[in-house]
């Protein structure tokens, strides 16, 4: 092979690898990106059952019910809408009624309730899931979390 051919082989190989990677990234984005919704959005946007989304808001007061075994149902609210959520597993240490929460999962095709497989609560008393805090501030439902609420 001449010098030019060698270089071309390497460049062509490299380019095809990069193109493959770009296609892979685009495919992965189309498959696995979860959009963030709050209960109010779900009134206006249709989310088809089985599509993974993140649902955030406050855990509605008095809504947490421990059912069979480790299945827990609760409602996520943002002041203007409420979505019932069921979750099987161990809730985070800082999961409490009236606190911010982000759940990830999909709507069940049959029961139309939201089945979460991941529940994220805040990390400490000052932390509120950022998406939730931003939106609650916008909607004016924001209340200073933290010391007052943790009692």
């Amino acid at each position: 092979m001449t010098r030019k051919q060698k270089r071309l082989t390497i460049i062509a190989g490299g380019m095809s690898f990069i193109i493959a990677a770009v296609l892979l990234v685009m495919f992965a984005f189309s498959q696995s990106v979860a959009y963030f919704f709050m209960p109010a959005d779900l009134a206006t946007t249709e989310v088809s059952p089985g599509t993974r989304i993140r649902l955030g808001g406050l855990v509605a007061e008095g809504s947490v019910k421990r059912g069979e075994g480790s299945t827990v149902t609760f409602a996520v609210t943002d002041g203007s809408g409420t979505v019932p959520v069921s979750y099987t597993g161990i809730l985070p240490d800082l999961f409490r009624e009236g606190q911010g929460v982000v759940t990830e999962g999909a709507f069940d095709a049959v029961t139309h309730s939201f089945v979460a497989d991941t529940v994220l609560a805040k990390h400490d008393e000052n932390y509120m899931p950022k998406e939730v805090a931003d939106r609650l501030k916008e909607q004016g439902v924001w209340k200073e979390e933290g010391e007052a609420a943790t009692q």
Partner: protein, 662 residues
């Protein structure tokens, strides 16, 4: 008084940094040896001053001086002393001071060990290091000063975030920063070389030990962080593709690429421009990571405080250094002449492949990490890019690399023999497949793809051994001669083999644990039992306990196999009194490389408790492999030290690859 001395030392270090930033660089430009000679002494002074500041802050933590706002916010008089000390960097201000301490530490090391560098290069490197130091000193003094007082002083502190009250905090951040910040030296070398307008194999030889050291520490730091998250958070996960984890992983990937491309440059004078670019990129990713973690754009356990001015300040530092370095690169790089030709199938070719895959993988991680932030800034739309994205893209991209790793060291420089390499490796490949099948049989089923995944891990391990086998010429030479050859191999050969072996071990651990782990959620009453991973777990009830600054309810579990009790453990839920914050302390039992992980959930209405039990087969291989990689790094480093004197001859006028522009 001690606090004021510390504060004063920090301001003084800024003044020193300003001197090192300017005088040696001007000296290098004017070829003034007196001005250049100032750099090492002043860099050492800078380090000592930052050390005094850091010591003063540590002292304030140890004696619980709550008149310091920073101590009051993040400490408590009842905390054990070890957490008081590690609490120094368990908060934003203190961790930035640690960042700075390590940055100046590396400057001091360059000053001490850089005696055989050409004067202009050393002066420029130290000047660039001082620019970075100046930026971060200004950042600390203007936005994150840990030495601010409170008047009147509160009687008791607010306690450290309970998640951080763990020995992990004492080890993880310093190790991580040694890696993260260590790449600043590579960056400084790259920028200095561009300023100098000259770069050659000797440059690569000087840069390699620094890259290797930083890479070794970063490997250890990431592995440590992963293990810490695993046992402390109580979720049983060891990697979450959390943006903060990615922030440290990207410099690691780029640094790994740099390590390999610098090798090509050192041995063959090829890939010069690329290596310089990679050195700049690696530290840029470190800076980006610092921005992501410290600015508060992400919420995580690492984001201690959110203050927009800090975010903007770091963003400015980021743009200044990355933008500046890339501008300099664009201006100067075309003047660097590229050297050594090579065939696509050769050691160089293999290393180029390594670089290609690693940088593309870095790019996918970068895209996945930044895309949600960019999208939110531009459109306000909120998305999350989670583990499925990274597993798919990064996971698939890594496969060709893992397949190729054992081939690399088998190929000759310049022109390699693919068939010959294959001949030397088919035994390793066969053994890997057999080992994969055997493990598949032992683990009793699962997806068939797992066989190939496990074989890939074994392939990395056996390939590394085959490399040593081959270098010593076992099989062709009589055993005792081959053995003597093996012992006489340079340490770097062992370093390479160990690092590649460790990679294989980690891959094996990842594949086995993701394929065969089981997660069981149980509702347990006193005395009830469950079978997990071949072991029987019996719940012996709950007890209350009190720690120095927390109260806990802990459950006792006895684990037996075949009716014989083999181990027992406590798993608890703690409430830290000062912050009224609960944490979960999982009970972890180790059997060989595998672990049982028992985590407590909520109490149930009928008096029982929800318990989550994971069986994590081979999980220790993940971190064990990283440990082997780290040992490989140190072994290789010990070799390089012996060769530091070697480039002496380069001190005479190097056949200039190019002349400075003016």
């Amino acid at each position: 008084m001690i606090i004021e001395i510390g504060h004063y030392a920090l301001v003084l270090s800024l003044a020193t940094a300003l001197i090192v930033s300017t005088v040696p660089a001007i000296g290098a430009w004017r070829r003034d040896s007196a001005m250049m000679g100032l750099a090492p002494v002043a860099s050492l002074t800078m380090f000592v001053l930052v050390l005094i500041a850091f010591g003063a802050l540590t002292w304030a933590y140890v004696v619980s001086d709550f008149s310091l706002r920073n101590v009051w916010e993040n400490s408590h008089s009842l905390m054990p002393v070890v957490y008081k000390v590690s609490g120094v960097w368990g908060n934003h201000e203190g961790s930035m001071l640690l960042w700075l301490l390590i940055l100046t530490f590396f400057s001091a090391l360059v000053a001490l060990f850089g005696r055989n560098l050409p004067d202009t290069l050393r002066a420029n490197v130290l000047a660039v290091q001082a620019w970075i130091s100046t930026a971060f000193m200004l950042f600390i003094l203007l936005t994150s000063n840990p030495f601010l007082r409170l008047n009147p002083a509160p009687a008791e502190g607010q306690d450290l975030n309970p998640v951080l009250q763990d020995p992990g905090l004492a080890i993880h951040p310093p190790l991580l920063y040694l890696g993260y910040v260590g790449f600043s030296v590579c960056f400084s070398f790259a920028v200095a070389a561009l300023m100098d307008g000259r770069i050659d194999a000797a440059w690569a030889r000087w840069v390699r030990p620094w890259t290797l050291a930083a890479w070794t520490f970063l490997t250890a730091g990431i592995a440590m962080g992963s293990y810490w998250a695993y046992y402390e958070l109580g979720w049983g996960g060891w990697w979450f593709w959390d943006p903060v984890e990615n922030a440290s992983f990207m410099p690691w990937l780029a640094g790994t690429a740099l390590l390999h491309s610098a090798l090509v440059m050192e041995k063959r004078e090829a890939l010069k421009i690329w290596t310089v670019l990679l050195a700049i990129m690696t530290f840029s990713l470190s800076l980006l990571g610092t921005f992501l973690v410290r600015s508060g754009v992400l919420t995580s356990v690492h984001a201690f405080a959110t203050d927009p001015t800090r975010g903007i300040f770091i963003l400015c530092i980021l743009m200044l250094f990355i933008g500046g370095a890339f501008a300099l690169f664009a201006w100067r790089a075309p003047m660097l002449k590229s050297g050594g030709l090579f065939a696509p199938v050769s050691r160089e070719g293999a290393l180029v492949l390594n670089n290609l895959i690693l940088t593309v993988a870095t790019a996918t991680v970068l895209i996945g990490t930044l895309y949600p932030l960019v999208l939110e800034t531009l459109t306000g739309e909120k998305i999350s890019v989670g583990a499925p994205f990274f597993n798919l893209t990064f996971g698939l991209l890594m496969i060709p690399l893992l397949v190729a790793v054992p081939f690399g060291p088998m190929l000759a420089w310049k022109r390699g023999d693919a068939l010959g390499a294959l001949q030397r490796l088919y035994v390793a490949a066969g053994l890997a497949l057999v080992a994969g099948l055997a493990l598949y049989y032992v683990e009793n089923g699962g997806p068939v793809m797992a066989v190939f995944g496990m074989a890939l891990g074994f392939w990395g391990m056996f390939g590394a051994l085959a490399d040593l086998w081959n270098r010593a010429n076992f099989g062709k030479l009589p055993f005792n001669i081959a053995w003597r050859r093996l012992v006489g191999l340079p340490r770097s050969a062992f370093g390479t083999a160990l690092a590649h072996f460790g990679l294989g071990v980690t891959v094996l651990g990842i594949v086995v644990v993701t394929t065969f782990e089981t997660e069981t959620v149980l509702e347990m009453q006193l005395g009830s039992s469950a079978d997990v991973g071949g072991y029987t777990i019996v719940f012996d009830g709950m007890r209350d306990a009190v720690g120095p600054n927390y109260t806990e309810e802990r459950g006792h579990f006895t684990v037996s196999q075949g009716g014989v009790a083999v181990a027992d453990t406590w798993s608890s839920k703690r409430i830290y009194t000062a912050r009224q914050m609960p944490t979960t302390e999982a009970g972890i039992l180790t059997f060989g490389f595998s672990q049982l992980y028992i985590s407590l959930g909520d109490p149930m209405s009928d008096g029982g408790i929800v318990v989550r039990v994971w069986w994590k087969p081979f999980i220790l291989c993940i971190w064990g492999g990283a440990l082997v990689m780290m040992i490989g790094g140190f072994v290789s480093l010990s070799d390089r030290r012996l060769r530091v004197g070697a480039p002496r001859r380069k001190a005479k006028p190097v056949p200039a690859a190019m002349e400075p522009a003016e």
